[in-house]
Symmetry: C2
Subunit: 410 residues, 2 copies
Amino acid sequence: MKEISGGVCAPKGFKAGGIWCGIKAGSQKRDLALIYSEQNCTAAAMFTTNRVQAACVLVSREHIAGGKLHAVIANSGNANACTGEAGLAAARRMAELAADEFALSPAHVAVASTGVIGVPLPIAAIENSIGALANSLRGDASGHAAALEAIMTTDTRMKEFSVEIEIGGVPVRLGGMVKGAGMIRPNMATMLCFITTDAAIDRELLDASLRGAVRRSFNRAIVDSDTSTNDMVIIMANGASGASGAPRITAGSGEYETFARALEDSCIKLARAMARDGEGASKLITVTVTGAADETSAETLAKSVAASSLVKTACFGADANWGRILCALGYAGAEFDPHKTGVRFRSMAGEITVCVNGEPVPFSEEQAKKILSGEEIEILVDVGADGGSATAWGCDLTYDYVKINGDYRS
Amino acid sequence: MKEISGGVCAPKGFKAGGIWCGIKAGSQKRDLALIYSEQNCTAAAMFTTNRVQAACVLVSREHIAGGKLHAVIANSGNANACTGEAGLAAARRMAELAADEFALSPAHVAVASTGVIGVPLPIAAIENSIGALANSLRGDASGHAAALEAIMTTDTRMKEFSVEIEIGGVPVRLGGMVKGAGMIRPNMATMLCFITTDAAIDRELLDASLRGAVRRSFNRAIVDSDTSTNDMVIIMANGASGASGAPRITAGSGEYETFARALEDSCIKLARAMARDGEGASKLITVTVTGAADETSAETLAKSVAASSLVKTACFGADANWGRILCALGYAGAEFDPHKTGVRFRSMAGEITVCVNGEPVPFSEEQAKKILSGEEIEILVDVGADGGSATAWGCDLTYDYVKINGDYRS
């Protein structure tokens, strides 16, 4: 797998674009995005588990049921959630507008929204700008960047990937973008994520590879333990690599392994980037639990540590308060033996052991402070049994998180 | 039920005291407390559900199994958790020291600790001061206050109650104290709480009344969703009111109802006070859910709203971002119909409806800001079905929470 550039436009046959249509009235930042494939794509998706589901989630879920997508239209600045029948009509209208531009079936267009909840979506702004949006499409990195900018809210960094793998000796590409920042909780991390590929792959396999990748990536990224009403991850595979001779990816094949691994690694990269760019975050916190009963137990333990407000604030303060880590393990809900548990901290500045067999060991507070002052901190927990390990990603809890969320709407 | 003064010393036959023994080396604030009953008491208790349990929890759980207590000895500044065999020995020694002073069985002494985790308890400091601690006992409000001060950590207010009820026409009293502030999560809210009463009541009834009261009070108070390793609630009933002619409280009687109600109301008062005094809190947030399927559903929904970091920061910013409330209801895990859900905000400054049937209604942002700027905010949610209602208490998430927890140990 090699890294390339281009984001969602790296795979053959995809274009993207983004414009300002007026939803973000104040900032005049881009707020409307389109990702378009010349060929109809095999598609798979995952959606929020929140019982309150935005109109775009309802509509996209319906459209994806057919397994085919030609385009995704997305806006930021307004979540179109808790907006009733009018909101649902607006989401349908968004799909229709994009479909009409390219003479597609609206059922082959997915719709996504992100932003404030409970405010009617100004659909007229989108209607007025749909031509400009279509004109903004580009098949290169600039198109990708414009679309990505247009789905960002409190995000401060571009979170994206593009990679090339070989399937049957022929280059096949995957590209993706994600917006995250706040309302990021495991079990469908909160976000919009759009992934493209020119691989030729059946729906069931695409779906299986997406579920596997999301489980080990976005579902282990935590910012504030709030699950949003709008989350979705969509992958579109247009099969365009077939024209260069890439074989169709089949179940149980080495090619499937290669594809699934590339997708998982790329989603992990996005999940890490999302945690690092958590609202107000100054540090990425990577929590790895080893020696658990199984992977699920390890995941439960790692996520509990990454989600703890007290661990997050301690990391912010570069305070080696490892008791809070034991405490978060203790209420995680997974079996483990506290008396066999050890904790280490690691960063670019070094590594330090602070707890062995559930008890304190002497360590240099100065050295610990230095390690915890890094921008990327690893918390390494071993619970002393065999087998299960898992990694979760989170970020520190800072003054800026409070500032950003104290008055988000204005 | 009438409010009186005296705290845990209000009921007949109880004394309390508190001193500085040197555990809080820096601040020289009181750090060692004792509550003592002249008569051996019928006792009941509840403990943390964390799998990592402090030494004091293990020892007190063992001692309370006999159903009898004469005294509680408690320290602040050190949690004596994750401290291994030495920690367990130190907790046993604390009970022994208090027992020796009054020629009691150590099994009739409960032990509690609160403070930093993973630091060996300096038991010598307690050994050297046990005489002074015994001498500090007083049977009045000053003794209560000294003991309460000695269990406080980041608490900024005294959280206490004392009430008088009539049992068979004879005055019976209850008094209590609680320390809370951080690591407060529902399902055994994090805290130390000691309650005394001169009621004459059997162990089973005392236990039942405590469980009922805790369920509707401390288990619905939330600060940061971290469950500590040290939580305990202890109630001691010495039966001293019997000397004035108060009858023994029996199962199913009106007297039991009176007693249980007084205990529940008092615990609710403490739970509210604990949320209001949450670390860094500037506001008390009371979330009441009505119209749920049953009380348990209503409780689940109310707690999810009170625990949401995004709701908490919005309250801090006096921002009527009700979409976050719908969102928190949606991921709570209880069934409800978002399309029948309404939200109102209330405080001393008035009341405002912001959402009806899951959709926005026009409201004055200015008026909403005024209401949400109150020190006590009520979030009133009706989910449109019948029956179940419940209230949870929380607080806002502020810069000060981050500050307090960014460097707790120093």
